[in-house]
Every structure is written in structure tokens, then in C-alpha cells.
Amino acid sequence: QDGGGLREAMAGVARRLLRRGLGVAAGPPSTRQLQEAEEAAPVFQYAGKAARRKDRVFVWGFSYSGALGVPSFVRPDAGWKKPRRIQPTPYRLETEEKISSAACGYGFTLLASNTRDVTKVWGMGLNKDSQLGFQRSRRDQTKSYEYVLEPSPIPLPLEKPQQTRVLQVSCGRAHSLVLTDSEGVFTMGNNSYGQCGRKVVEDEIYSGSHLIHQLKEFDSRVVQVVCGQDHSLFRTKKGTVYACGWGADGQTGLGHYNITSVPTKLHGDIAGVNIIHVSSYGDCCLAVSDEGDVFGWGNSEYLQLASVTETTQVNVPRHLPFKIGKVKEAACGGTGSVVLTEEGNVFVWGYGILGKGPNLIETAVPEVIPPSLFGWSDFSPDIRVTHVRCGLSQFAALTNRGELFVWGKNLRGCLGTGRMEDQYFPWRVTVPGEVVDVACGVDHMVSMVRSFT
């Protein structure tokens, strides 16, 4: 808006309005005349009463795999421009639909919308194991793209494509899961360990595969799907957990260290317990019950489960007797874990950069992160952390004010702070909007944001 030009126009309007009165003495306009000119000025409306807040998607991190969905980072649109290897701060990704769920895998991303339209899921990034489905290449109709540089629709074999809604997506190292409300779970990608829930075929070629498997046999409707590195976890409405995939670290929790290719129910300490949240990203898994208890199984080489056992692999879910209050949410990364309690406190344990300064590298018992690091102070005492998320070696926390805090290893700029150094305590990420949800990957992150007004 040309403010200067507008001001001259206003001065012109004032002068014209003044000259209208015949016989008015020339000279600087008096206060009353200025006031009248002001009242006669036009009023602009930029947002009406029905203005809605807009939903946006912001991405940041390593871009050469195409996982950020911005093709100009990898293949610039002009010859003199250089490709952008790392996007260090949040960058807006234009999407056609409102994205309700996002997941970051190891070099690829899935975005899903809650719509009834035919296109519900978009994928970008690495597609060497068809973890983004079959992306038909323009040059050769029989071949699929190995790297997808912008969000491309994933065709799901739905029976009722105009009625089913996609609730959630999840991505692992080379496979992805899509959860729908009435047609079960769809899996695609690498199945060499049975993580897609179907029988392992020897020497199967996963690249350019059209196969998307559908899983329906669970005791009740699946409400959450989680991908670990090479295994999958399914949580049903009744509170039971099913698992399939690689089990050499016991991450399937089925009592053995073998591969499982059919989703099987977990027992152990969670038998009969109503589980309300499951989380995994590496080889360790955590589950939260409705009473606020935490259960864990899988890899414990980094002291994630050292509070109950000395063994480095736990293949049956074990109750973790932490006295930290009622737990609401848990998130498990490669070497560290984080839980959020009902009071809004954040507890971390495991190995790596845990968020309590450079001196705390490993702990088997959860330690609380002081709330003042999340913006709590005497001036604003009602700030609470509402969600916690985990990438492979980073952590993210969302507060009730819509602020995003990240800490951990800054692998290829994945923290989004604008700097390339590791962050040893929670640091705010400047996002132009209120952050609603965030998905963390190995070297990139995706966030769903609502604009302020």
C-alpha cells in the first residue's frame, strides 16, 4: 500500500473540502477543519466479522531428498540460482486442502487431509521402496519416480473413496501406514521384515511396486497407527495394541525376537489394560494407559527401560514404575524418551541431548524440564505444555499458547532454529502462526499452523 501517495491524496481531499466553504481564509487548516476532513475520509476493510483463520503447513530441514516438498530447493527454476540443501527456518508449503495429519519418515513425508474428496493423502521425498505408493513417471509410464519433489497424491485402493476419511498417517524408515475411519489400515513400502503386515516375499522388489496392502482383522476399530524404524504398531478402540515387523530388539513386544508378518496382539504387562496412546520412532516403544501408567518394550541399550531391567532388549511390554504423576502422552525417539503429565510437566530420560543442559547426557530415571524454559513465569503463570513429539534425536513440545519448542541434535538443520548448532535446552521456533501440531523426522520437520487472525 503506498502510504505516502495515500497521504498526499488525503491532504488533497482536505484541501478540496476546505475550499468548498466560500470565503474561507487561506492558511494552515484549523483543528476543526482537519477533524472534518478526517471524518470524511474513506474507511478500508481488510477483514470482516466472518474472517476465518487460515490453516497452513510449514516445513524445514534437509531438502535434497525432496521431503520438504519444495522442488525449487532441489532443482532451482533459474540457472543462476543455487539449490538449497538445508532450510534452516520454517518455510510455508502451499497445499490445496487443509492438512489434518502429517508424518515424517526417514527422508520422506506424508500429508493427509480429512476430506471426502478422492485425493486424501499426498507424499513427497524418497520413494525407492514405494513408501509413497506408485508415482507414475512422465517419461516412462511403467516406471515410478524414485524421488518425489512435490506433494503428489497417493492413490489408495478404497472401496468407497468418496465416503471414507483418512484419520492419521505414520511413516517409518521405508514404509508408511494410512489409517482410515471405516476401511482399516493401508500399508505400503518395504516389507522385508513384515512391517507392512503381509507375508514376506523373498527377493521382492519394492521399488516401483503397485502393492498397497489393506489390514482389517483387529478386535475393534484401529484408532492410532505408529511406525517404528522397521516395525508397526496398531492401537485399537478397546485399548489393545497389535504389532508386526522386525523384532530383533523386542520392539514387537510379542515375547520373541523374530520377524512377525501379521499384526499380532501384545500381552505382557499391558494385557487387559486400556491403552490410550502408543509411540515409537526407533527401536523402542512406549504406551500410556488411561490411568496414567507408562509401559515400555524394545531396545533398552540407551537406558530407556533401565528402570525395570538391566537387559538391553525387552521383548514383552513392562510397566515402568515412575512416580511422576498421571502421564497424559509419551513420545519415544531413537535414544531418548519424553512424557507429558496431566499437570503439564515434561519429563525426559534416555541418552543424548535430553534438554537439561550439556551436562545431562544420560539418565535412566525421568527428570523434569523446568517449566520456565517453556515460557512459564510469574507474569504468565498459565502456560502449559500440551503435546510432546520425538524425532530420531530431537524433541518438540507444543504449549497452550501455540508456541513450538525444540531441543536435541540439530541434524542438517532439522530443529528449525535458524542455527546449525545442537540445542541443549528448549528453544522457541519462530513460526508466523499458532502451531497446532508438529511431526518430527530424522532430518526434517513438518508443522501444521493456524494463522493468527
Binding site: E38, V43, Y46, A47, G48, P358, L373, S377, E403
Partner: protein, 261 residues
Amino acid sequence: LNAAPGRAPRQRVRFLPAPAPGGGGAVELVAARVPVLADHPLVRGPRFRKLKIGAGHRLDVKASGVFVLGIGHGNKLLTDLYNCHLTKVYTVGGLFGKATDDFSDTGNLVEKTTFDHITREKLERILAVIQGTNQKALLMYSNIDMKTQEAYELAVKGLIRPMGKSPPLITAVRCLQFALPEFQLEIHCLHETQQYLRKMVHEIGLELKSSAVCTQVRRIRDGVFTVDDALPRTQWNLQSIQEAIRNCQLKVETELEKTLG
């Protein structure tokens, strides 16, 4: 000040001639304590001919509130207080619907906009974001290496503050009153100017898809000095000033001890 009883004149031991007790012209020297003539009021003249008065943080013409002055030897304390980098608190009043060229309501009108879509919730969201970005800038300009354990400990206590030059930083904002089209904010800031606060009100208006001008900037706290310690116009006389200085002495000393060590 000159009429007040001054210091007693210095005393000096002098050997004065006095007539000898024997009598008859002999003079002997007797030690006596006499006031130094140079300290006599008629010789010295009025004690104060001019006073050195220094100003603390600037307050411009359109703003009001606490303004700290240093008198005489107190000017040295002013430099020390400046180096403490303490926060100042302002109440800023704003008005939605107008934009002017100098961001205050007495400037030339640039644009008028509607504001009925603005709610207190939207305003508080914007204020939260302003606080967040300024918090980040606080940590960045404090020139501490983020990778050290002491940086973590200071961040936990909330004591990280830039102790050198930095652009204007806002440590806390909160909305005190909201009655469309007027609103009032309480702002805690460092190294700011009042025009910067007016510009911030203008930018808040832009962010809410409308426009705003600043109607009032009032400093209610400058480091350790609050409005209660400040003297209003009616009390600009010697007794009140002396009393105010006496009351604030202890506060200033403890603050300087704490920050500068």
C-alpha cells in the same frame, strides 16, 4: 539550599601571639584552635552557585511518567544504573481504526480501517507471539554461549539479559484493558525508545488486519524507581526532593550490589 545550615567551618591549630602573663610587652605563642578563615561564609560566598543535574533514561515530549534525575554526585550512580540494564515498565494506550504517519493520534491521518472483527483473544495471541520472538532475541543478544551449562542454568532462572548494547527488546507484554476501539497494554522493555513503543502499537494493528495509533505512553517503572517514588509537579520543592533521595538510597545501593557485584 544555600539558606540551610552548612557544614561547620574547618578548625585549625594556630599559634597565636598572646600577651605573656608576666606583663609588659612580651609576646608568647599560644596554641589555639581557630576556624579557618577560608571557610567563613562571607569569604566563601553561597555554597551552591549551580547544580549539576543529569537525566537518566530519556522520555520524549509526548510521553509521561517516571523520569530519573541525578543531582551532583548522584550522576555517577546514573552511569552505574545504566550499566545494570534493568527493565522499564510502560502502560501504552492504543486506539484501533486509524493509522497516522507518526504512529500517535496527533499525526497526519494515513488510513482508516474497520476494527469490529478484533477480539481480546486475537490481541492476546499477537502479544504472545511478540513476547516469544523477543524472548528469543533476549537469549541471542546476551552473547552467552548456548552450549554451556551456565547458559542453561541462567535460562532456567530467567536471568539471561543482554548486558551490552542491543536493539529494543520486550521482556513481557500483557493486555490490561480492552474496550473497542481502545485498549491498554503493559510493556516491560529494555533499551527502547517511546517511538519504538508507538511503532509497536501500529504493527499490532497491522497484524490484526486493521490499524492502530498510540494515544498514551506512560512510564510507570524505571529500574528500581516506581511511580510511588516519583514526585508529581506539586511536590517539586526542596524538602520532598531530599526525602525522595533518602528513601531511594537504600534501594539503589542494593540493586547496584546485586547486579554489578
